[in-house]
Amino acid sequence: MAKTFRIEILASDHPFYQGECEMVIFPGIDGEVGVLADHEPMVTCIMAGEMRYKVDGEWHYAAVTDGIVEITPNHVEILSDTIEKPEDIDRHRAELAKQRAEERLRQQLSKQEYYQTMAAVNRAVNRLKVKARHK
């Protein structure tokens, strides 16, 4: 069995997973980042996308949004706004959210509102993607 490290994945509204893990791959600022045990200490950010982690040779998937990652050789801490398992994602709701945000985008928006709405679209699209991939 591969060497493991401790991983703590916390969403702002619930602790998602805590325990041993062989490998984790998450969407970083410029591309996916994979982490194995004994990784060099690193601090980075997690972006909206699909995260996966391997426990006992089995991959687990989750849709994440923005967050913070702290990596030390035997411990990885992932803090994100929301983390959802594919089976918990409500496709209908995500689609509604996407439609709503896209409708808003067509209106006159301030710069700040524009970015927020774009982020909302991205989140919804990401949810749908993750859901579609793991039916």
Binding site: E8, E40, P41, C45, D66, E70, L79, D81
Partner: protein
């Protein structure tokens, strides 16, 4: 001794108020259950976030980021200090609001150009009446905290900080320590405190920041503030419900005590009235016989 009818009407009014306090007790206890559930879910994140940020700041190399801007050349009296104060939307929560307001006033008396950002109606009304500098467009409620609201608040604050309208930003809120005990706390939001070198010497190596410290900080700080404020709102909301529940429980209890006393007085007064009537009748009958 007051007459029986007066006592009767007091008993009636106390009973009515007791009904209200009891209803409020029930409402806040059910709200507290909900709030506590979300607090339990958020608490690990809130704690881990603070620990992680602390750790990251210890490991961070020198970063040229606006979030570290200390503006040390500005003397204390000239500094624009922003206080984000979390109170309840309603009163009748014991000392909950009072404690937060007291702490805010204490901090504000230390000098500087203060401006207030108030979450919750009670605090807003109070400071506006006092004629303090309150940001009028900053309108947020304290109930049912959401991540979205936390984001809006943190964006407003960061914008002001980046533009140089604020030099220091603090948040004053109530933390729930146990279900029986809560405490007013103050956290410095911005600028971030760079940890001193002593700790670094104690074997804290620099960490790698991917892709660069500047970019990581740029993304990390807004995220951190959003998460922190969300935690602050959840903690405060829980404390508020807890304080209200305790206050209403105490009010109901003292209403019961008062009722017991008044009931006794009423019975005495009634007894006295009856005795008096009997005496009068007997007296009257006697005088008729003569």
């Amino acid at each position: 001794m007051a007459n029986a009818r007066e006592i009767r009407s007091r008993i009636k009014s106390i009973q009515d108020i007791m009904k209200i306090t009891n209803a409020m007790y029930l409402i806040s206890s059910s709200k507290l259950k909900k709030a506590r559930k979300s607090l339990q879910a958020t608490h690990p994140y809130f704690e881990a976030l603070q620990d992680t940020i602390y750790d990251i700041l210890v490991r961070a190399p020198h970063v040229n980021s606006v979030y570290f801007r200390r503006n040390e050349h500005i003397p204390m009296e000239e500094r624009n200090i922003g206080y984000l104060v979390v109170t309840a939307d309603k009163g009748l929560a014991g000392a909950y609001n009072h404690n937060v307001i007291k702490k805010a006033e204490e901090e504000m008396s230390k000098g500087g150009k203060n401006s207030l950002f108030l979450i919750g109606q009670v605090g807003r009304q109070y400071f506006m009446r006092k004629g303090k500098a309150v940001d009028c467009e900053f309108l947020y409620i304290a109930q049912e905290p959401t991540l979205y609201r936390a984001q809006m608040i943190s964006e407003t604050i960061m914008e002001l900080f980046k533009n140089g309208h604020l030099d220091d930003v603090y948040v004053i809120y109530t933390e729930m320590i146990t279900s029986m005990k809560s405490e007013v706390k103050m956290i410095k939001l911005l600028p971030l405190e760079r940890k001193k070198f002593e700790q670094r010497k104690m074997g804290y190596p620099h960490a790698l920041f991917d892709p660069s410290p500047e970019i990581v900080m740029q993304k990390l700080v807004p995220n951190y503030l959003k998460g922190l404020l969300f935690g602050v709102l959840v903690e405060s909301f829980s404390s508020e419900q807890n304080a209200r529940m305790t206050a209403m429980e105490a009010a109901t209890k003292s209403a019961k005590d008062m009722l017991r006393n008044l009931e006794l007085q009423y019975n005495r007064a009634r007894q006295a009235a009856i005795t008096q009537e009997i005496t009068e009748i007997v007296g009257g009958a006697k005088s008729l016989k003569k």
